[in-house]
Symmetry: D2
C-alpha cells in the first residue's frame, strides 16, 4: 500500500533549540517518528510542503498543500497530512471544496503536544491516521484521539483540546 505523507509543520513537528530556548518548526521529525512504528506493509514517501506554525499559514500556503495533495493522488492509496491543529479545519475545508471525485482518503492529523515530548499524542495520532488510511472510504478526514471525523464541518474544540463535529 502506497502512502504519501505531506508535512506542513505545526505543533507535532516543533522541536527545541537549546541555543535560544525556543520551541519552533525547525526541521521535520517524521522519519524519526516513523522508525518507531512497525509498518512493513506500507510504502511511505513524504514531502515537506510548507513548514510553519499553522497560525502563520497564508492562503498561498494552503494552496501549496492543495497542489501537493493533487500531485500525490494519482500514485497514492491514501494521503496523510501532518498539520498544525489551530487551522487544520481551514485546510480541511479547502481540500473538501477543491477535491471532488476523490477515489482515495485524504487524512489530516497533528498533535496537541509536540513529538519530542515524553507525553506526546503524536504517535497515537499518526498510528491512527495510518490505520484509517486503510479502512475509510474516499473523502477528507481529521483523525486524532480515536476520532475519525469527515469533512465538511470538523472543528477544533479548544477547551477539550481535540477535534469534533457538532
Amino acid at each position: 500500500m502506497q502512502i504519501t505523507i505531506l508535512t506542513t509543520g505545526g505543533t507535532i513537528e516543533k522541536t527545541y533549540n537549546e541555543h535560544d530556548g525556543l520551541l519552533r518548526n525547525y526541521h521535520t521529525i517524521l522519519p524519526r517518528m516513523l522508525e518507531t512504528l512497525r509498518l512493513s506493509d506500507l510504502e511511505i514517501t513524504y514531502e515537506q510542503v510548507v513548514f510553519k506554525d499553522s497560525l502563520e499559514m497564508t492562503r498561498d500556503d494552503r494552496r501549496c498543500i492543495l497542489e501537493a495533495t493533487q500531485r500525490a493522488l494519482p500514485h497514492s492509496d491514501a494521503v496523510v497530512i501532518l498539520h498544525g491543529t489551530d487551522t487544520l479545519e481551514k485546510t480541511g475545508e479547502l481540500l473538501y471544496k477543491e477535491l471532488c471525485d476523490l477515489t482515495i482518503p485524504v487524512i489530516l492529523t497533528g498533535a496537541m503536544r509536540p513529538y519530542e515530548f515524553r507525553d506526546t499524542d503524536s504517535l497515537q495520532n499518526v498510528t491512527e491516521a495510518l490505520l484509517a488510511a486503510r479502512l475509510v472510504a474516499p473523502g477528507i478526514y481529521a483523525v486524532m484521539h480515536n476520532r475519525v471525523l469527515r469533512f465538511p464541518g470538523v472543528i477544533k474544540d479548544s477547551d477539550c483540546l481535540t477535534f469534533t463535529k457538532p
Copy 2:
C-alpha cells in the same frame, strides 16, 4: 462508544520481577497503558479472563475467552482481546467458529515486545485495535502493525514477527 477489553496475558502484559529476574505475566498493565492514550470518546471496561503465556493456554482457557466474549457482546460496541501472539490464531479460529451472526467487531491484538520495554509495539497495536473497533464491519479480526486481518485464515509469520493471511 462502549468497548470491552478482555485481557488474557501474553507477551504484551509480561512484566519484570526484580527479585528473581523473570519476565512473566504477573499483573495486567492495561490501565497504565490506557492512561497514556487520549480516548475521551470511549467508555472502556475491562476484564482479566485468563492471564498466562499463550503457549500455556488450555482448551478450557480458550473456552473462558469465548464465554467472556459472549457475555460482553450485548452491551459492547466492540470487543478487544489482548492475547499472546503464539496462539492468537487458535483463539481467533475458535471465536470465528462459535460466534455466528456477530453484530459488532471482535478484535484480537497483542505485541512482539512487552509494554514495559522502551521499544514496545504494544501502544501501536492497542491504538490500532481501538481505532479499527470504530471502523470495521462485524467479524473476528487480528489487528497489529498496521494490518487488519479478518478470520478465518490468519496466521502468525514467525520469521517476520507479525500476522499475515496467506
Copy 3:
C-alpha cells in the same frame, strides 16, 4: 542523609501548555522527576523559592535564593539548587561571596533541555548533583554533564551548551 532542594524554575522545569502552545515555568516537576530515581538513603525536602526563566531573575530573586540557602544550611547535609542556566553563574557567584565558612556543599544544577522532553539532560544532571552532594568538600559548585566545577569562576559556555571554568 538530609538534602534540601531549592527549585527556582529555569529550563529544567519548563512545561508545555497545550492551550496556548507555550513552554514556560508553570509548576515544579521536581516530585515527578525524583520518583524516577532510586534514592532510598536520601531524605529530601524541597522548597520552591522563585519560579521563572533565569533571564528574568532580579537582584531580589537572587537574594531570596541566598536566604533560602542560609535557612537550609543548619539542618541539611547538602543543598541542591535547580536553576536556569542563563544566569546560574550569577547566583553561584553571589552565594560564593555571601556564604563563608560553609560546612556543607551547595550545588547548582539545571538542564539545557526541559525535563518533559524525551532527550532531556535533566535526569543526568540531577543524578550527578545528588551524588556530588555526598562526595565533594564544602563549597559552591555547578554540577552538570559529568563536570564538577567549583565557584568562583564558573561560566556558561554558550557554544558548547555546558558549563566550564576557563
Copy 4:
C-alpha cells in the same frame, strides 16, 4: 579524562529476543546507553570481557575481569565495570584482594532492571559511576542508587534490591 568501561553482561545488559521471548545477554547496549548521556569531557573506551548472567560466572570469568582491569589501569583515570548484581560482590572482593597499591578508582555498577525497560535504573547507576570516577579516592567501589560503597564488605541486600555495607 580517560575512562575504561569493562562490560561483563548481567541484568543491565539483558535484551529481549522477539523470536523466542527470552531476556538474555545477547549483545552489549553500552554504546546506545552512552549516547543518551552528555559526557563531552570523558574519553571512553570499552571492552566486553565476558558476557553472561553473573550467576553463571566461573572463577575463570572473574579472573578475566581481574586481568582486563589490570591491563586498563596504566592508561585509565578510572575503570568502570558493568556487572550482574547477583555476584558483583564476589568480583569486588577479588579485585580488592588482588589489586594493591591502586592509584585510580575501580567502580562496579549494574542495574536491578535492564536498560531496555522504560523504568530501568541503569542510566542512574551508570551516570553515578561515571561521576564517582571523578571524585573518589583510589580503591574498589560499588556505586548504585546514590550509594558509594567501598570494598571490602559490600553486599547485595536482596530484600531492598540494592547494595549495602553492614
